[in-house]
Amino acid sequence: MSNRLKSILTPLIAVLLGMVVGAIIMLISGYNPIAGFSSLFAGVFGDVYSFGESIRQMTPYVLAGLAVAFAFRTGLFNIGVEGQLIVGWLAAVWVGVAIDAPKIIHLPLAVIAAGLAGALWGFIPGILKAKFRVHEVIVTIMMNYIALHVANAIIRTVLSEKSDKTDKIAESASLASPFLAQLTDYSRLHWGFVISIICVVVMWFILEKTTLGYELRSVGFNQHASQYAGMNVNRNIVLSMVISGAFAGLAGAMEGLGTFQYANIKAGFTGVGFDGIAVALLGGNTAIGVVLAAFLFGALKVGALNMPLQSGVPNELVEIIIALIIFFVAASYVIRLFLDRLSRKED
């Protein structure tokens, strides 16, 4: 078995194992797994509305996944996607509400603001890692909470009069599209998926086709060797976190300018950033893999909403399945071991 085939089979087996354990959990708790999964499936492909919603849900996942994957490829672990997403969401809505401009200026401005906010939120752990060798995992976790509380406070005091959500953004900053909505039976599908596809190409291009990308990947493989070869390791660490944060900030713009059109007070995290870790891992940290994994997770999340209605299975089951998939991908050493045994028998 070639290595390439193995690296494609491993995530597929992880997904399969996640589904199997999900089925077992359904069985134990007295549900019919076949009914459960078919209601999940119907919730995704049953009609154009659900399909539109799945694509819409996939959009922030692609960007969150790219953010995690980009950092991973350069040897960094960005758990802060959640916080970067929240500040991106806030910045996009802020520009969307506060500024009055024609669409051709307003929309790009709001999107850029989200990217910049996310980049700033990634810059802080990046610079701390580069200058003081502080582990980015702890800093990004802390930054998540800071983002959550600061965003809530700004929404409550600056962007509204003690209300729990902002005004709706101006039409000129909206990603919403009557055309796409009509096409998909009035789902919330919006133009954001175009932005996410552009970002997929951008990530692939930066990493694979530019000197910068070569350096970033090189630092990811071996910091010391890169340093010895004359690369500026510290600069690359900061840059990688900034780019990663920008992707995450754009994911927030998808929610703020596309799906919800406002920002609201959050009691807890959105979860999109954490699921981004799963998306990146499952996609093998490649641009195209992230797209496929994001579609899977977007579909699972949207399809799950149909489960309680049609088969009575609580939709939290999908959260369990997603967690299990990450778990199995993380422990893929065992899956690889199994595949090795398998291919040895073939010889």
């Binding site: 600061v150 009691a267 993380a330 422990a331």
Partner: protein, 319 residues
């Protein structure tokens, strides 16, 4: 308002908020001292909170006032069992420890909410009737001033947490078991050469971390939130992890840091009753523990203090 009045508000509230963090951070100390990163503390607390609340709701009528204490034991067992997953993934399957921890967190919250829906048919549980109420320590609370501040209207689990912290210190630094535990986290190959079973030590450490985090979650649920829902445990596990690092992976240091975070957290709740602090915007108090952690990591704490083998799976025979 006199200083003593202010302290009478702040000290019990600090102890209350610090208690779950102390337990959980001590759990983290076991795991990380043995070389296994445990970001899954958050999820283990969720398991503890969930099992304690479910047990409390169903046993309160038969066990009466003892219910919350028995629920601590139940949560301890549940947390320990759930931690085995993290142990299998990271120790036997050589999974990335951070990623496995993230999976543990997602799995715990997903599983518990699924079970809540299954058992109660709604998104969160009812309020428990038997919680850790306020308590006056006998004898000690009669001491003038000090008794009023530290031992009156306080929460019994806080004293248990402090006792456990001292116990963990003794275990880690004064017993052969503790020496083995730390050696496995510093240099597993050397430990292996000396005949210490690295895999077994790490399994034990991770399971203990789950048990203590389970207790932490149970205390939080039964003393602070009184029910279980999706936002019951919202970052306390990560705070405990930060306290552990703040405290330089030392049990008493972790306890000190947890008390400090407890103070910071409690100020955002009781602060409006206290002059001066009432004028500080709430958001400053809310983000203070996180900002301070980042500043402390960047400025005060030498990086050489982490256990040397932290984060690396031990593969026998590989140099």
């Amino acid at each position: 308002m006199s200083i003593i009045d202010i302290l009478m508000i702040i000290v019990p509230s600090t102890l209350l908020w610090a208690t779950p963090l102390i337990f959980t951070a001590l759990g983290g100390a076991f795991s990380e001292r043995s070389g296994v990163v445990n970001i899954g503390l958050e999820g283990l607390m969720v398991i503890g909170a969930f099992s304690a609340i479910v047990f409390n709701l169903s046993a309160a009528s038969t066990l009466g006032a003892a219910t919350p204490w028995v629920a601590l034991l139940v949560a301890m067992i549940a947390g320990g069992i759930f931690a085995i997953l993290h142990a299998i993934a990271t120790i036997s399957f050589r999974a990335d420890q951070v990623v496995s921890g993230v999976a543990i967190n997602l799995l715990a919250i997903g599983l518990c909410l699924y079970l809540v829906k299954l058992i109660y048919g709604k998104g969160q549980t009812d309020m428990i009737q038997k919680s850790f109420g306020k308590w006056n320590v006998p004898v000690l609370s009669d001491i003038p001033v000090i008794g009023d501040i530290f031992f009156r209207n306080t929460y019994a689990p806080a004293f248990l947490a402090i006792a456990v912290a001292i116990l963990v210190y003794v275990i880690m630094y004064k017993t052969p078991f503790g020496l083995r535990l730390r050696s496995v986290g510093e240099h597993p190959m050397a430990a292996d050469t000396m005949g210490i079973n690295v895999t077994k030590m790490r399994y034990i450490a991770v399971v203990i971390s789950g048990m203590l985090a389970g207790v932490g979650g149970a205390v939080y649920a039964q003393a602070i939130s009184s029910d279980f829902g999706h936002a019951t445990i919202n970052g306390q596990g990560f705070m405990a992890l930060a306290a552990l690092i703040f405290g330089k992976w030392h049990p008493l240091g972790a306890m000190g840091a947890a008390l400090f975070f407890g103070l910071a957290q409690s100020l955002s709740f009781v602060g409006k009753n206290i002059p001066l602090i009432a004028d500080v915007p709430n958001v400053i108090l809310l983000i203070a523990p996180y900002v301070l952690t980042i500043i402390a990591l960047a400025g005060f704490i030498g990086k050489a203090d982490a256990p040397k083998a932290l984060g690396t799976p031990y593969i026998k025979g590989k140099r």
